[in-house]
């Protein structure tokens, strides 16, 4: 890891119904790192309250980590982290839960919805 290489993550914050804002985090940049690596670094080192979804880390199997990276739909775990500023936002077409988490749960996989049937 080299000191002069870093990325500024510009992150959408806020829950459904709240006014959103963007937080900036300076994260170290390592060769080959993914956007997900940077988000995990932020949660671990700066702000544990940052919300995002993922499970498989690098297998690209769970498909839970989809977000907008610089405006484009992408998997956080396969999107390579560039230097400079990278903006991450929740999927625009899904209902927002909080921060980068959107409602991607299939409707019939919800305990509440199923019980109400």
């Amino acid at each position: 890891m080299s000191d002069d290489l870093k990325t500024t993550l510009n992150v959408y914050r806020g829950a459904a119904g709240e006014e959103a804002h963007y937080d900036q985090f300076d994260v170290p940049h390592e060769e080959g790192a993914s956007v997900l690596d940077a988000l995990v670094w932020v949660r671990e080192n700066v702000d544990a309250s940052l919300a995002f979804r993922y499970s498989c880390v690098s297998a690209n199997a769970c498909k839970e980590c989809m977000i907008l990276v610089d405006g484009k739909v992408n998997y956080a775990c396969t999107a390579k982290l560039s230097t400079g500023t990278v903006t991450v936002e929740p999927l625009a077409k899904k209902k927002l839960i909080r921060d980068l988490v959107t409602d991607i749960v299939p409707p019939k996989e919800r305990l509440g919805s199923v019980d109400a049937e």
Binding site: R43, C56, N60, D99, V114
Partner: protein
């Protein structure tokens, strides 16, 4: 607080949990299957890319007793042979059933293709092309689960604790991840199918949901664990450069098929210094490779990221293309060109042989509490044969669901007091602070725990290192865990779940370490540098349970069966 009630509550929706749900529903039970992630996506099942062992005998004559013999041999004297026999025999039924559910096992002219995998006496392992076994299994089971009206699915439900009343499991407390709401589940039977613990090691092949929560829930409910010291490390897991979309254990077939040279940080071959000849095809035994890599790194001759190099530049590009076709392209996407540069590899934690102690009906010692899948200990003894974990998930899942349903049927359910949930969730309440800047985070502590386990409770252990680890783990439990601030941010408060996960992870880490201290010998995956030989007096299973908040260990005779190798039969299709 939300309340739900069901005959069978399945915790975890990987291969084992989904199979349990289906089997319970087939018995007429109503079922809720919950996963803290999304159904079928959160654990090891969907990540597996390789093979599934089953004596279906399509490739060459085989019989499950031969599969059993290989399993027991790999287990170094510690297999619970009753469980191993069930695993091998019923694997055949389950593989055919998965076939009916259109998993898509690779076939040639109607016969399933079976390959040879290390440790098996013959070609026994089915798979789904290309490197798609886990995703195909997950998809097929997800479809079957969705089709059955008796099954309610609950994605995003993190189960925290099993509720035990009068010595019996009667329900569970969970948190709905998205809303933060508490969910109280009343159940006639509970199946713990929440997977393994390899996430507790710094280098692992795990998803983030494999921190050993099933084991911790079982312990806290009063059930016993068995053989927790046996963590399987895979010798040449991927280390660097960063690679995504591929199984970190995928170098093994490369090495077997074309031969890959292992080189230390000075680009010198080293395997021969450890008594193995790696010859022209570079197929040194896995344990020798692990040990040699570990030692090179320890003595300062590792690669930049602390592993060794795996190099293929001596192989003809045509051969590489022929053997690995589409994989070469996927590697290129990661900026890896094997003709130009080597990759760094290292042993990684991959599977847990130990786990919840069950009988042949998958029952724990707590009535109403069942377990399945990697969460169960015993069937694979001191090391697991490759390809045995997915059938284990199917077979034990099916049994846990079936027997759990039968138990639930004969039982009346009394409504649970909401207080039981409040008590369970009271623990970190004082640590929750609105919008507070984190005062150390659970994830940072998890990272510390992973490094500690890797360095001191990893591949090669010593009494001294184990004692140091135990002391720090206990301090983390009594001190660090209680002193972090948890941001009080619903919805989707991952930080709160991280706290529960850390608590569970620490209890598992303590169990593994304590068990490793007690086993003063080397056997299978448990290797003590200070005591390199196996000793006959330790040909016993080690049990562990909670008494108050103290872990108590003991020894038990290994369950044996007598069996004869049946004449091999080729399957008639």
């Amino acid at each position: 607080m939300m309340r739900v009630s069901t005959d069978v509550f399945v915790v975890g929706a990987g291969g084992a949990g989904m199979y349990a749900a289906i089997a319970a529903a087939r018995e007429g039970a109503d079922v809720i299957v919950a996963d803290k992630s999304l159904i079928s996506r959160g654990g090891a099942t969907i990540m597996a890319q390789m093979t599934v062992a089953s004596a279906v005998g399509h490739e060459e004559p085989d019989h499950w007793t031969h599969h059993l013999a290989d399993t027991i041999e790999a287990g170094h004297g510690l297999c619970n042979e009753e469980l191993s026999a069930i695993l091998c025999e019923e694997s055949v039924t389950r593989i055919h059933e998965m076939d009916e559910w259109k998993v898509g096992w690779a076939r040639v002219e109607g016969r399933m293709t079976q390959v040879h995998a290390p440790g098996h006496g013959l070609k026994r392992c089915v798979y789904v092309d290309y490197l798609n076994t886990g995703p195909a299994v997950a998809r097929a089971l997800r479809g079957e689960v969705a089709q059955r009206s008796g099954i309610r699915r609950a994605s995003g439900l993190a189960v925290i604790e099993i509720i035990v009343q009068n010595g019996e499991a009667v329900g569970a407390v969970a948190i709905d991840v998205e809303s933060g709401e508490t969910v109280l589940v009343e159940a006639g039977a509970i199946v713990l199918a929440a997977g393994g613990l390899t996430k507790l090691y710094k280098r692992n092949s795990a998803s983030i949901n494999m921190g050993g929560e099933a084991y911790a829930m079982a312990l806290r409910a009063g059930a016993e664990l068995i053989d927790m010291e046996f963590v399987q490390f895979f010798p040449i897991g991927h280390l660097a450069p960063r690679m995504v979309g591929m199984d970190p254990i995928m170098w093994d077939p490369f090495r077997y098929k074309v031969g890959g040279r292992l080189l230390n940080g000075n680009f010198e071959e080293f395997i021969h210094n450890y008594g193995a000849s790696d010859g022209g095809n570079y197929t040194a035994r896995r344990d020798v490779a692990s040990y040699a890599i570990y030692k090179e790194v320890e003595e300062g001759r590792g690669s930049p990221h602390g592993g060794v190099w795996l190099s293929f530049d001596h192989i003809d590009p045509k051969v590489m293309q022929e053997k690995f076709g589409p994989m070469i392209g996927r590697l290129a996407k990661n900026g890896i060109d094997l003709q130009k540069s080597a990759v760094e590899v290292s042993p990684i934690a991959h599977y847990h042989m130990g786990g919840i102690r069950v009988d042949t009906e998958m029952k724990t010692r707590i009535p109403g509490l069942y377990a399945a899948g990697e969460a169960v200990g015993g069937a694979n003894g001191a090391t697991r044969l490759s390809g045995n974990a997915i059938p284990e998930a199917f077979v034990f899942g099916e049994r846990a669901g079936k027997f759990g349903a039968a138990f639930a049927k004969g039982r009346s359910r009394a409504p649970l007091d909401e207080k039981s949930a409040t008590i369970v969730l009271s623990e970190p309440k004082s640590q929750l602070k609105k919008g507070a800047a984190p005062d150390g985070s659970a994830t940072a502590l998890m990272t510390e725990l992973q490094a500690l386990m890797w360095e001191k409770v990893g591949l090669f252990r010593t009494g001294e290192k184990l004692e140091q680890a135990l002391a720090r783990i206990r301090e983390m439990q009594s001190d660090d865990l209680r002193n972090i601030t948890i941001p009080d941010d619903a919805p989707f408060n991952q930080a709160l779940l991280d706290w529960y996960e850390l608590r569970a992870g620490l209890l598992c880490a303590e169990s593994v370490t304590l068990a490793a201290i007690n086993r003063t010998e080397s056997r299978g995956a448990h290797q003590r540098e200070d005591i390199p030989d196996a000793s006959p007096e330790f040909e016993r299973n080690q049990t562990i349970g909670l008494s108050g908040d103290q872990l108590v260990t003991g020894w038990a005779d290994v369950p044996r069966i007598s069996y004869t190798l049946e004449e091999k039969q080729a399957a008639v299709i």
